[in-house]
């Protein structure tokens, strides 16, 4: 970009003037508002273009000053930054939002200016991180930008009579800005980004804002952004240090969500499972072990626990993720609905496994040769249809008699080992807190274990066992539904579990089973 002649000097002078006013005001906002008259007098905010030029150059000048004036810290090659100018700059932006928008008493007007400011900061940050001509220099310092955003978050989410209870608009502006700065777009800002989206003036406020689902949608999108970035690296067995560090921070954020906002994790569990690689078992368990705060989970180790008599298992879980989308995308939904209604044509069952294969581009990217999202969606959709059918059918209708079980059984017998693994994973992903999905899918998994009719059925039984076991042997937390399903499998003589060859195939495996069984029984 070519700045208008003299623009940089003018903006620098204006900034110096602002810093003096800000220092003299001692933090009293009203005393700073006089500065707006100076800006108006110089036509700085007269047009969108002049506003953009002012904001951009001001951001560049302040960041440059901050980085250059850092003091060398002992034992570190990175200078400790002095934030006086950055803090003053952020305060100026706050004053602009509150008092300089077209109609300061209008929240919409304020948010419009806030969006403009955040957009400018985004562009300056990206340009800085990429360096001249897209060279992406290694010298980018994320800290001044982090500081500006953190200050803006603190100051603009504080109670204000104009914003009042409608802070979702302000938070939404920040959420959109952070979505634009997501790690996949600006990896050099990823650490700051995670800290900002989990900031205590942002994340909890967004999740507590009314109406609840709008704030939740925005937070959900940001977490998906995070996992979309990390997914290719988490799939590998060895994590680079930077990813390990980012992952550790992610775990902490998720633990705060699990403790303070478990319902949020519950209601979006489906889409989170979609973006986590299958090998991240503890991470997935974190999502799946969330349960509503009002619920008291019965101890899964209670002797003679009658799960089917628990009142909670009659209730459906709330699923806010759009799990039907993946089915509509590859044409499965219509054919599936037809089959579930008419139990015909039989050719549907032959056709289905092929539709679950990954597209050539998905396969080329090195992920599974199956479209795992489609399998996940298919399983949940079948489950919800099945439960509806059971509710309409006479009492004691067995799940094995439903057309939905035809689909499961056919897939079990025709998919290869990899496909079956994803299928069982998708079923096990529904083993969560007591609700009718947990109960249904627990029954499905146990039914498939007991009724598998392929040649060498122990291969399938071993696979079901493996899917459950690998979720149990990792460190806690463990979802309630997972525990009760495994306990049922090993305790109920119907499944004849301990007679299976794979439970004794190797000493290490025997020890693992004994250890898990001991803690279960």
């Amino acid at each position: 970009r070519v700045d208008p002649p003299g623009a940089r000097e003018q903006v620098t002078l204006l900034l110096e003037h602002w810093i003096k006013i800000w220092n003299d005001a001692g933090g009293v906002e009203q005393k700073c508002v006089q500065y707006l008259t100076i800006l108006q007098h110089q036509n700085v905010l007269k047009t969108d273009e002049s506003t953009e030029v002012f904001l951009r150059i001001a951001a560049e000048v302040c960041v440059e000053f901050c980085v250059k004036s850092g003091a060398k810290a002992e034992g570190s090659d990175l200078p400790t930054l002095n934030y006086k100018v950055i803090d003053a700059f952020a305060s100026m932006l706050t004053i602009l939002v509150k008092y300089a928008s077209a109609d300061p008493q209008s929240l919409t007007s304020r948010v419009h200016l806030l969006n403009r400011i955040l957009g400018t900061l985004h562009r300056v940050l990206v340009a800085d991180s990429e360096g001249p001509r897209g060279a992406r220099p290694m010298a980018f310092d994320q800290r001044p930008y982090f500081r500006v955003f953190a200050n803006l978050l603190r100051d603009l989410t504080a109670p204000d009579p104009v914003v009042d209870a409608n802070n979702l608009q302000v938070l939404g502006a920040f959420a959109n800005a952070f979505h634009g700065l997501q790690p996949q777009s600006v990896p050099a800002f990823a650490f700051s980004w995670l800290e900002l989206i989990s900031h205590r003036t942002f994340m909890p406020t967004l999740l507590l804002a009314k109406p609840a689902q709008k704030g939740w949608m925005l937070m959900h999108r940001l977490l998906v952004d995070l996992f979309v970035f990390m997914e290719p690296y988490l799939r590998r067995s060895q994590l680079p240090l930077a990813i390990k560090t980012l992952y550790k921070g992610t775990l902490r954020v998720l633990l705060v969500l699990l403790h303070d906002f478990p319902e949020f994790l519950c209601d979006y569990h489906f889409s989170f499972c979609d973006v986590i690689p299958p090998n991240c078992i503890q991470l997935r368990n974190l999502f799946l072990s969330a349960f509503p705060r009002t619920m008291r989970l019965p101890d899964p180790f209670t002797p003679n626990l009658k799960v089917d008599l628990l009142p909670e298992i009659a209730q459906p879980p709330r699923i806010l993720s759009n799990y039907v989308a993946a089915l509509s995308y590859n044409g499965i939904r219509q054919e599936l609905d037809n089959y579930l209604k008419n139990r015909a044509p039989k050719s549907f069952l032959e056709w289905l496994p092929g539709r679950l294969r990954a597209s050539p581009s998905q396969a080329a990217s090195g992920s599974a040769s199956y479209n795992v999202a489609s399998i996940n969606a298919l399983v949940v959709y079948i489950g919800s249809q099945s439960i509806l059918q059971l509710q309409k059918s006479p009492q004691n209708t067995a799940i094995g008699h439903l057309p939905t079980m035809d689909v499961f059984q056919h897939l079990v017998t025709t998919l290869d080992a990899e496909g079956r693994y994803y299928l069982f994973n998708a079923i096990a992903n529904q083993l969560r807190y007591p609700n009718n999905h947990t109960h249904y899918f627990s029954c499905v998994l146990l039914y498939l274990f007991a009724e598998v009719t392929v040649e060498n059925s122990e291969v399938v039984q071993e696979q079901i066992t493996r899917v459950l076991l690998e979720r149990l042997i990792v460190h806690r937390p463990h979802p309630w539904g997972l525990l009760i399903t495994f306990i049922e499998l090993i305790k109920n003589p119907r499944y004849n579990f301990w007679a299976k060859e794979f439970t004794h195939c190797a000493q290490e495996i025997e020890r693992v089973f004994e250890s898990v069984a001991r803690s279960c029984m």
Binding site: L81, Y83, N115, F140, F146, S185, S192, P240
Partner: protein
């Protein structure tokens, strides 16, 4: 910020390189903690060994508020507006069954069980904290009793 203009994603190795390079400038406590500048309202030169230059950190501890009497809590509430201390004082007053009336901006406490309770209000005798004084009672800053007062719940904070 308006959702357009997302930067095109890099390939994985470039992303990882950028992420790894950014580890050196990860924010630390120095970068995230903004110290609120303390400016005394009426500066006066006093020996530092008697009066510290900044408020004592003991007032950041919620536990000390349990030791304050109601008058002290009211003082903090009205004279430290917008501060963490006002928040803690309000919390402590609520623990002692004081309730804030949003219209009169004062604290009320039931002197006895209400004579009447509906979904919208309760009525009875209350103690309230007079921080302003009224036309009839010019001197404020004390607790007063009010008979037959109606506390509408729409004004309950």
């Amino acid at each position: 910020a308006d959702g357009t203009g997302l930067t095109a994603p890099l390939d994985q190795s470039s992303s990882l390189a950028a992420l790894e390079a950014s580890m050196r400038s990860m924010p630390t406590n120095h970068d995230r903690d903004r110290v609120r500048p303390y400016t005394p309202r009426n500066p006066y030169q006093v020996p530092e060994r008697f009066f510290g230059p900044v408020p004592s950190p003991i007032f950041e501890d919620p536990a000390i508020f349990e030791k304050f009497q109601a008058d002290t809590l009211f003082f903090i509430f009205y004279y430290q507006q917008g501060s963490y201390q006002q928040y803690l004082a309000a919390k402590e007053l609520k623990k002692h069954s004081w309730r804030f009336h949003k219209k009169y901006k004062t604290w009320f406490q039931r002197h006895e069980e209400p004579k009447l309770t509906t979904e919208e209000l309760e009525q009875g005798t209350y103690v309230y904290f007079d921080y302003q004084g009224t036309y009839e009672l010019k001197s404020g800053w004390c607790q007063r009793i009010k008979y037959d007062f109606t506390f509408e719940y729409e004004y309950l904070e």
